[in-house]
Subunit: 346 residues, 2 copies
């Protein structure tokens, strides 16, 4: 397994994808178009009030994976090349990369308030340092700065595509907050929440850059489907890592989902083998010892493996979709990215 | 003094404005275009999750003053008539009325979280009933529904105008939260906060409908200036009412601003007469007895009167601006509205 950010060259720079084509490291390829990403985001947030500025910049410290911006610029290039062999990323497409990262971050800030989370990415959360109230405002401000940047692009289709994401994020968080559904609905509910909270932003950002780069609706659908499937796989693996990774590596405590009362993929699969987990799920792991006991059940079951299989299926679907585009280094980097999503360990 | 919602006919339906023209009640005139306003807003918020739906609809109960939607549709008609004598409000202009009310409400929901407020409009606040966390989400959801409705209008200038408002609201709330400025900056700071928290939404909504109704930038500026000045006057009177009205009538506790640590217009004017108030302002009325003592100082001073004078000046400026438009019942209703703002007692 290789780490997310530091891909070993032997595996990733000169080897071959399943389709047999050469590719280069997606992060290297993507970063060509993302120089100054965080400086630019901080400019969008230009604020005279020192404390607010400090809070809003706290997460845009350049230490994030920039997973979403990377996908966005690679998709932009892949679509541009597909359409007319253009080698440039348009300014409006690069703006989508910034906006996607800003929307993502704003939603993290509010989610951390709602979950009362105290650490993320190895740092204290905004709510932990500055308090809940200021964190609400900081999230609002990042979101409004993103909306202003979005409006500035001046394409109403793109505005519609990305405002839908903001709504999905909120509804996804609410679904997560209130889950009391019965056993049969649980898995569908989990996937819906996963789409809304994670995949919608990636799918719709991919679609937005495809709309800006190419007039063909078939290409927009390919971009959307790639983003959706990679986004679902990404979150499923995230849910697996909450059971298999140590907290030092993740930068946030593990079994964090159980502690929040959440039954993710590994738990839902484990529950099929160990129906006694049902009661714990229904009470959201709130009785003493529930979190540890549930964790043990999951690790004894094949919940981790089944969730990983499901993620693999989504990735295969993503690869199938993106392979419809004309070959390019960026297209192949997107193919490789779907494999990195599966094998990351943080 | 007449009440805001029930204007006595003798004063408001058949009398004359300063400019000597007949006018009719702005609320009656405005409501012609606002039938079904709250039903339509609730449709925008269409949500399957019962609790979230209930929370989001809580404030759109049809009992609000609809002050912003009324101004917006009257301005739309006044601009349309000015431009080409058109007697219709466009669907996109009516949409701005909904969006303005939604943005306003979303900001109230988050402000109440931040201020830890427990009542508003004579009801418990969302945070009081459902808790802070769900209130954060409800506010986010109303705001994202507003953004989607805004994107649907499909005019990028209008999108830019109204996303600026969202940013102003957040920055205004932050200014209010952190005010520790020195005596000289205090008044300018108060007016800036008042513009951002109240006047920006009214000014920019007025501008947005003028952009949709008329291509002339001179008209856009008139609409903006009218909204800005009426908005400033509206908030100054609100700040006065916090000292002069009883809590039963306001639907929220009075001296509420002092209790939040806020020095509004009446306090700032009073402080010029009674410099001993300075220390209380600096400690945000946090010592025992500060709130009552400050209230007494204000009522002994001419702070209420001075603030009212200032509001009158803004209203005169609003009337001066709107009078540049071609005469119409709607234009005259806007003139009258500025007088109602000054004389309202709730």
């Amino acid at each position: 397994m290789h780490r997310f950010h530091h891909v070993t060259p032997a595996v990733c720079c000169c080897s071959k994808t399943r389709s047999g084509e050469k590719y280069t490291d997606p992060f290297n390829l993507g970063w060509r178009d993302l120089k100054g990403l965080y400086e630019d985001i901080r400019k969008e947030l230009f604020i005279s009030t020192t404390e607010l500025k400090e809070m809003c910049e706290y997460y845009f410290d350049g230490k994030g994976k920039a997973f979403r911006p990377i996908i966005v610029v690679l998709m932009a290039r892949a679509c541009n090349i597909h359409h007319n062999n253009s080698r440039n990323v348009q300014a409006s497409q690069r703006a989508i990369a910034l906006i996607a990262e800003m929307i993502h971050t704003a939603s993290l800030v509010h989610d951390d308030v709602i979950d009362d989370a105290s650490s993320r990415r190895g740092k204290h959360t905004v709510n932990k340092i500055w308090g809940e109230k200021k964190a609400v405002l900081a999230g609002d401000l990042i979101l409004s700065a993103a909306s202003i940047a979005l409006a500035r692009i001046g394409n109403t289709t793109v505005v519609s595509i990305l405002t839908q994401v903001i709504e999905d994020l909120v509804r996804g968080e609410f679904l997560q907050l209130g889950s009391k559904e019965n056993e049969n609905e649980r898995f569908a509910h989990y996937l819906e929440k996963t789409f809304k909270k994670t995949a919608s932003l990636i799918a719709n950002s991919c679609k937005a850059v495809s709309v800006l780069g190419c007039p063909d609706p078939v290409v927009h659908e390919i971009a959307y489907q790639y983003g959706k499937n990679v986004g679902l796989a990404f979150q499923l693996i995230d849910d697996v890592l909450d059971f298999t990774s140590c907290s030092d590596r993740m930068g946030k405590p593990t079994s964090a989902d159980l502690k929040l009362g959440l039954a993710t993929g590994p738990v839902l699969f484990a529950c099929q083998q160990f129906p006694e987990m049902n009661a714990m799920i229904m009470r959201r792991f709130s009785s003493p010892g529930d979190v540890d006991r549930a964790r043990q059940y999951v690790l004894q079951s094949d919940g981790v493996q089944q969730t990983t299989y499901l993620a693999q299926r989504y990735c295969r679907e993503a690869v199938r979709e993106i392979s419809k585009l004309r070959p390019s280094p960026e297209r192949d980097a997107l193919i490789q990215l779907s494999e990195i999503v599966l094998t990351r360990d943080k």
